[in-house]
Symmetry: C2
Subunit: 579 residues, 2 copies
């Protein structure tokens, strides 16, 4: 061992002891005849002191030490005259008697400080230096802790971790696969898993009863803001359970993590049908840390001669409390916001309920104050409030207003970053119609069971209206996990494939092994998968999953530190039979 | 929940309680007016009983249940008249009052029994049925337990689990990479990691101090007996440590696993230099559960006119106690054994020390009993013993005799499968000379440090003789892990690359990011990686890692259950820009 203690553990009670520490030079200061060095390791920072009068040679050596040099120092623990209450070792310092440079360092390209001067690109290129910064260290330690606690909880509930293969088979259904050419089977390819879905279902067929895995998954998508080509899931499946058993079990996991990782007791996990979430929040992952729910205004605002509203499928609004005095500029900003392509509205109507009781709207031409009064009433608005209204195609308008609601929540500081509000969104639609290909797609995946009471609807009625026995766990407006009760009955599975427009042959080709397995005694089962990167990010109060991944890729799917992807040799390509 | 209890938990004390169980029909027997069903789940087997007199309809229904049907049964727990002491639930049975078939089953293609009638190919194709068998279940549960206990131990020693990327960069050094074409960066490829070696070293540079990960690794090798294209490692790295700190830490891990998983206290972990292992056992992974060590005979057997021995670089032998009465046939078998290409000797010489004290050898033409006496003496042979001798090129002959030693250990039942004998093999050679390419290769990898005292030898002497600061953990003749102290000094790393015949440019190209990282304060560090599949296999007393992997691939790298690898669509290939 190069040390007797870490840089985070010495206290006043160690005074007088001879110790050896090793770590990185965080700072090097001269004060009169004294030289102080802050020595850093993963565990903390300890102050080293060198005295020019006592040992001038050693002190001169110490003065030469640059930032990020790796050193080993031996000396006696002493009480500091000038204590630092902000760090746990702040009561003591080491009076160094022996010093060794274990490795020098070039001057780092950016400062290793909480507020660094390094830009994103630079920090990603030197990720091994960026990772030295406290914030990143804190994030990775949090991730470790959450993984450990997840495993502990799941093991305590009789879940067993089973590793499923990474070299699997490409299936055209769903997102794009990464593929791996096989040298031993020329012209053939493995695919990297988008999730271990079929394997975990096979494990249920195999009788493993409760399975989990913290597992890497891969999706070759065009990367948006917060996506990575490889990401980590906590993947789980259970047998002989119905939906509520599953929700209760994983509510338990979430409670355990809140408690053991954040020291918080979060106990309320309301359950909200998808339809209600869309209606009230314009989102299938509502942030319920604040209200400002959506109200429908069709009956109150149609038929008054305003063509936009008269032609709209849906008119909906929210109230922003105390915003009646918003300026023209502020209102224009909001209009610009809703017109962004990501939000997608064409315009914004406002109704100001002025503090003096008067009413002023952007559609005064079409609506008298008498017309608007019932609108304010339905919102239970007070003088001083502002009502914001969007209209148009029902789905798009709801979702746009959901976006505006979040924006207003931020602007009005209604969203407390220290509060966690989980929510189960349930009863998702089973199928989504795709106009382009003129067929249904499974909203979750083709093995998701419809709700029992909706099976007749699926067989004989309007398939669009069928609800799935599926659920998402949402925390603070972020979907951190989703799952479903699965189909375990062959006839129902065949019906489902029919609805998805698969011929028997196509179904057999793509999912034959799972269909076969279902003929040999498949138990009722269901499960869930959590986006581990996202969950850690939410718990860490971060904005980007990239800050919670040790070696993330950039938006072009590149690792700029190792410079990957990269060319491979002609010989490699030849061996693989690819060009 | 479809059940109130599992099939493994009911006891006599539950008698009289009303319970619901769910599981698979293991067996269905009629005895007079009674029908007995063994109901199986992951947790055990419980006997259900149906009485034709009490409820004929239900009993008839029960008689229709085939093997592997999934059923749910409700009834009262009752004491059995005919107890079965071999299972934990053997004192009770359930008098069923209500029965539901949750899913029927076709007749499985092989029996789900400990001794199944299914062949390997069949069982792999229906792996989800094979996995229902006790033996496989036991193996996967053992694997789960070992993973949990490994994590617990490592976490208790301040190791943090950090996930490293799976989509990395291909490096020509070492085994063949699997590559992944990048759609977003046409013509470029990611590679799947053969190990997270460089990333864990970067994490040490980043100050994480103690890292571990249970992680999948990939190697595109021609598969031999017990290799898989994807395999799992317990991958670890530590900073500010020397070799003995590392060995002690992971000896601790092994002891913890022996204790917590097998309930055994294994405390003796001898350390043996590579050279000694080769000399005494003809192997760098000796099975030290038995002796029969190798003795050199050059001085005793050369110069007696036997040309084979006179021309041999090395003459070595072992004693097989009590085998002097081996027949011609038995000796011929041994000769055939050593002549196998995997063993590689050209012939076998024996010396029988007969029970009556006389000496008989296969080289009596060249050696008198007086010549052979000293040979027997050097082996401390007793009347009744048999000495077996090989000669030829030193390295090959040692290794061939090592093979013969293991064979004799098996034949003589000297190897106790219930005993575990770990061993650290240390001081491996740093470099291996390759005749074909006329260059050195790193025996471990290019970042392995030479032993401090051998650095002058590396700089100025015979590089072949330089020992690495590297070590393997061997249990019962199986290498279950290996690692080394790493180079953290830039100059030494450059020297190493020189010896490996890299130009500066090649080194920078392939390992530039690691070389760069070493310039910014790399701490002294080292680590180890354990082959998790092998370790579990050893602990489980198995012969093949395949039996300890949920969904293994066959010798052609194929998963016959999902039929992978497979063709992908032309469209996929076009998108990836490959042919």
């Amino acid at each position: 061992m190069f040390r007797t203690h870490t840089c985070g553990e010495l206290r006043l009670s160690d005074s007088g002891n001879n110790v050896t520490l090793a770590g990185w030079v965080q700072r090097n200061r001269e004060m009169g005849g004294l030289t102080f060095i802050d020595l850093r390791d993963r565990y903390g920072i300890t102050q080293l002191v060198f005295n020019m009068e006592v040992n001038p040679d050693l002190c001169k050596e110490a003065r030469e030490l640059g930032r990020e040099f790796v050193i080993q120092a031996t000396g006696r623990v002493a009480e500091r005259s000038n204590k630092n209450p902000t760090i746990p070792t702040g009561d003591i310092e080491i009076r160094v008697e022996k010093l060794e440079v274990l490795n020098p360092s070039q001057i780092p390209p950016f400062t290793i400080e909480d507020h660094t001067d390094g830009g994103e690109e630079q920090r990603m290129r030197y990720r091994y230096l960026d990772l030295r910064r406290n914030e990143n260290k804190k994030n990775l330690l949090l991730r470790h802790k959450m993984a450990i606690e997840s495993r502990n909880y799941l093991a305590s509930k009789d879940f067993i971790e089973i590793e499923t293969p990474y070299l699997i088979k490409s299936t055209p259904e769903g997102a794009r696969d990464f593929v791996v050419p096989s040298r031993m089977n020329e012209g053939q390819f493995y695919a990297l898993p988008q999730s271990p879905q079929t394997f975990k279902q096979l494990l249920m067929v195999a009788g493993y009863d409760r399975y989990y895995q913290i597992v890497r998954c891969f999706r070759d998508e065009d990367l948006r803001a917060d996506r990575q080509p490889e990401f980590t899931q906590i993947d789980c499946e259970m047998s002989f359970v119905d939906r509520d058993d599953i929700l209760n079990t994983f509510e338990g996991l979430a409670k355990h993590l809140f408690h053991s990782v954040l020291g918080m007791d979060v106990t309320d996990f309301p359950r909200m049908p998808y339809e209600e979430a869309m209606k009230l929040y314009g989102s299938d992952k509502p942030d319920i840390r604040f209200g400002m729910t959506i109200t429908e205004l069709n009956s109150l605002m149609k038929g008054k001669g305003f063509p936009v509203f008269d032609q709209a499928e849906l008119i909906v609004g929210i109230t922003a409390e105390g915003c009646a005095e918003y300026t023209r500029k502020q209102l224009d900003e909001l209009t610009d916001f809703v017109r962004r392509p990501q939000v997608g509205a064409t315009g914004l109507v406002y109704v100001k309920y002025n503090p003096d009781g008067s009413i002023k709207s952007s559609v005064d031409k079409f609506y008298t104050p008498e017309d608007l009064k019932p609108v304010l009433e339905v919102f239970q608005a007070h003088p001083g409030d502002l009502v914001l209204i969007l209209a148009g195609d029902a789905d798009k308008t709801r979702s746009a207003l959901g976006g505006l609601r979040l924006e207003m929540g931020k602007r009005l500081n209604l969203i407390d970053p220290k509060v966690f509000k989980p929510l189960w969104v349930i009863d998702f639609p089973l199928l989504e119609w795709d106009e382009e290909t003129q067929r249904f797609y499974a909203k979750h995946h083709p093995f998701t069971a419809p709700k029992q009471e909706d099976i007749p609807q699926l067989m004989f009625g309007d398939a669009k209206k069928v609800r799935a026995n599926a659920y998402d766990l949402v925390i603070n407006g972020v979907e951190i996990g989703g799952g479903s009760v699965r189909i375990h009955d062959k006839a129902l599975q065949q019906l489902m494939f029919q609805k998805l427009g698969f011929t028997d042959e196509e179904a057999a080709n793509q999912f034959g092994f799972l269909m076969n397995a279902f003929e040999y005694g498949a138990p009722p089962h269901g499960g869930i998968a959590f986006g581990f990167d996202r969950w850690v990010t939410i718990f860490g109060g971060g904005n980007s999953i990239r800050d919670f991944i040790a070696f993330p890729k950039n938006n072009a799917g590149r690792d700029v530190m190792i410079d990957s992807p990269s060319e491979i040799s002609e010989e490699q390509k030849k061996e693989l039979g690819i060009k």
